[in-house]
């Protein structure tokens, strides 16, 4: 049996990769994938705790998160698609007119 600490470290590493991805990458699609990565890092820690506490609550949470993440992916990808159609680019630095 793998110790809980190891899995949590993996989860934290995945989450940090996600955060760094959001902050550093310029491609919107990659940023979007990084967000998904963060979500799933959280899912991983939910499962870990669920197993450690011998309780189903964490697992039930995951189902909700996956459903919401799917819906969010639909909306997010549609937005990205329509932005791409007008701006002909996926570089997030050029999506900067929403200000002031």
């Amino acid at each position: 049996m793998i110790p809980i600490e190891h899995i949590l470290l993996l989860s934290a590493a995945l989450f940090t990769i996600g955060v760094l991805g959001v902050m550093l990458r310029r491609n919107v699609i990659v940023i979007f994938m990084s967000i998904e990565l963060m979500l799933n890092a959280v899912n991983l820690s939910f499962v870990t705790f669920s197993r450690g506490m011998d309780s189903m609550t964490g697992v039930i949470f995951i189902f909700f998160i996956i459903v919401v993440a799917a819906a969010e992916a639909v909306v997010g990808l549609s937005i990205i698609l329509s932005i791409f159609r007008t701006r002909k680019t996926l570089n997030i630095d050029e999506f900067n007119i929403l200000k002031w």
Partner: protein
Amino acid sequence: MSQIWLVPAFPLLGFLLNGFLGKRFGTRFVTFVGPLAIALSFAQSLVLFFQMLKAEGNVLHEHLYTWISSGNFEAGINFQVDQLSALYLLVITGVGFLIHVYSVGYMKGESGYYRFFAYLNLFVFFMLILVLGDSFLLMFVGWEGVGLCSYLLIGYYFEKDSAAEAAKKAFLFNRIGDFGVLSAVMLIFLAFGSIEFATINAEAATQLEYGGALVTAITLLLFLGATGKSAQIPLYVWLPDAMEGPTPVSALIHAATMVTAGLYMVARLSHLFVLAPFTMNVIAVVGTATALLAATIAVTQTDIKRVLAYSTVSQLGYMFLAMGVGAFGAGVFHVMTHAFFKALLFLGSGSVILAVHHEQDMRKMGALKNKLPITYMTMLLGTFAISGIPFFSGFFSKDEILWKAYSSPLGSPWLWGVGFLTAGLTAFYMFRMIYLTFHGESRVDSHTAEHVRESPLSMTIPLMILAALAVTGGFFGVPHVFHVIPNGMENYFQGFFAEIPSGHGSVSMEWTLMAFSVAFALLAWFFASRLYHSGFDLAAGLRSKWETLYQLSLNKWYVDELYNTLIIQPGRLFSTHVLWRLFDQNVIDRAVNTTADVARMVGNSIRPLQNGLTQNYALIFTLGTFLIIWFVT
């Protein structure tokens, strides 16, 4: 059940129908609804009048709705019909109905026909509320309501600058009076804990000290309100300008009904007023002074409606003289007879004005008596009545007032003397008006002269009915000295008004004074006939001799100019330099602008943070999260 509420309900309904549907349903609908509403109201008033006479204590009372209930204080929408309000009801709805019928002819073809009748109905409604209310609260609703309708109707031709100005002036002068009424009502509430007339009248003598400061303050403030509404010195100047409204309006509002509201209030609270002899003296002196001042102005005016307007101010002065010497019954009697003959005279002048195509200048009239026979005859009867020619209505009421002014313990020979002089002037200027308008040579321009025609029946029938009332109206109150028929007015008001100690003066004295005033009126008539029977020529010689006095009278004693220099100009300077430039610009505007500047500065300094770069936000968000975690752990 007495159903008092029906009386004001009909005019209110008329107002709603005319105001909201009149434009769509057209002239015939309005012509039907407008006068009918007042006719029904008059019928109900008659019923109530006789019920009231039979009722115990001569009072009918009706509770409709509790408006305010707070602690011990309760104010409801309660209607009350007693001797005073019943008489007012009959005058308002009766004369009001005749004037509505007259307006059908007079306002024919006007573009705002429906609007006119809606306002007129609304006015009658508020006037009825004013006299039916059993407490100050409801009376004040009516008081303000009639002021509003007066404003709307003076400004009926609002596209004309002078009419809009006159309406504004009337409203502002009334507001000064309203300040007095409101302050008085608050003092009354402090003194009595109630604002019901019945309570005030019943408890006045026990609650307040005779001649004390409080009762004097209350009554003086109430009188200030009365001077605003009833056009007395110092607030009378709005009434002559109010003649900008259509003539039926002048007849109904500015002669017969609304301007007597101030008198109504004084008469209603007679038990309070007699406790303040100082106020009574003020009322008598102000009334007499107003009567004389207005009469001297009326003598030289050339606008037919202005003559009548100043005549109204003068007659209202008479009524206040009566109130001031404690002759409340005589004052109310004169209110009634004056409503008849002054409404008649105004409507007659309207008929003349319509006949000569909206010309109001008497210098452009003359010799109309054969062309307008009915108007001429009825106006002549009205002139007899107002001049105090024996056995016409004005004779009885005016002589009753003059006699009381002389004989009452609150009166004095001086008051009688000035009243007597005014009576002579009244006869003079009224006959001057008759001669200039109807006699002599025609000064109507030839083009108009061909079209001069007697007014339609809808206008002449009200004239004839009012003339009949102006002739006979006085027999309700024949003074005791005649011994022919009992003094109906005095019996009617038995026990209603506060009693004052009976006066001095013998029967022979009364006869002598009466003979004097009749002789003086006839003399004034004679003078007027000599001077003006053929126009202005004979008067011109007299005018040049008394040029200064003539100018003073013609320019209304420069009272408007005086108010302008003493009050309006300083007020304007103060407002411009202190209120506007100093306070408004430097304090209020600066405070507002500084607030805005600070907000803008702060906004500018942190605006670069929101630069639209999503990853910047993400960075800040992450750093923030770290900060929170660092704080928490």
